[in-house]
């Protein structure tokens, strides 16, 4: 009984998450103007809410290794979406911050993707939407990224 509800849930998650993920990725990619990969998008998003975060902090939250995140950030800095600064007290650390342009790009990528998702979600009931939103919160509480 417990067992079967568990199996059902894992099966559904394994089936659905990759599928939705691909849709999100493709949608983001369509709006080529922004030129953002999903992890870049998430990084901008994180930085917009965590101004001055260090590279390690971002890497941990997004779930990338430090070298990978360093490279990813390169791409953001090169295109002037973010700036690297040296931490005032610990000169080993890098603090990251969005530029105005970064904020704009984030907003437009987010809007485009949200619009698309919102359009998809319009076909389900209000009740189902709140169910989905709640389930997302539940999942996030379990799968929140920790140190790799």
């Amino acid at each position: 009984m417990m067992r079967s509800s568990m199996d059902e849930c894992t099966r559904e998650v394994l089936e659905t998450v990759p599928s939705v993920m691909r849709v999100i990725r493709n949608e983001l990619r369509k709006h080529r103007a922004q030129e953002l990969s999903v992890p870049q998008f998430r990084t901008l998003n994180f930085l917009s809410r965590n101004k001055g975060a260090s590279l390690s902090e971002v890497a941990e939250h997004i779930g990338l290794t430090l070298p990978s995140m360093s490279t990813l950030v390169d791409g953001l800095v090169t295109r002037n979406f973010a700036v690297r600064r040296t931490h005032p007290r610990d000169r080993r650390r890098v603090t990251l911050e969005l530029t105005d342009r970064g904020h704009m790009i984030l907003r437009s990528a987010r809007d485009a993707t949200r619009d698309y998702l919102a359009q998809k979600l319009e076909s389900i009931s209000l009740e189902d939407r709140s169910k989905v939103a709640e389930s997302m919160r539940i999942l996030r509480s379990i799968f929140a990224e920790r140190a790799a």
Copy 2:
């Protein structure tokens, strides 16, 4: 009111799905014995339930282009997880089928990943689990892959 429930839902989906996706991918990768990428895993899964599917059918379901799927399948065939056959009536078509080894690999990858997910899901209530499972079904009904 409608609007805000929509925004909340899209925000949650955009935040959560990539995060859970990364956990799944990393988990699958940990069990290196299987050497399966997420799309390969999904492909084996699809073929186990759709014996004799054509390359196009699989590509459409997984959400890859035909060339990409062709390459992916190469990897499965080379390692003897699947076989390519020619369709008896239309020699342009390829029909795909798992080998015994493919079934075994799929089962062991699935078990390992399921066990991991199941362990994670143990920390939430039975009620929450069924909520999550239902939400997955709802999302799948909206995001089911169609022709690219």
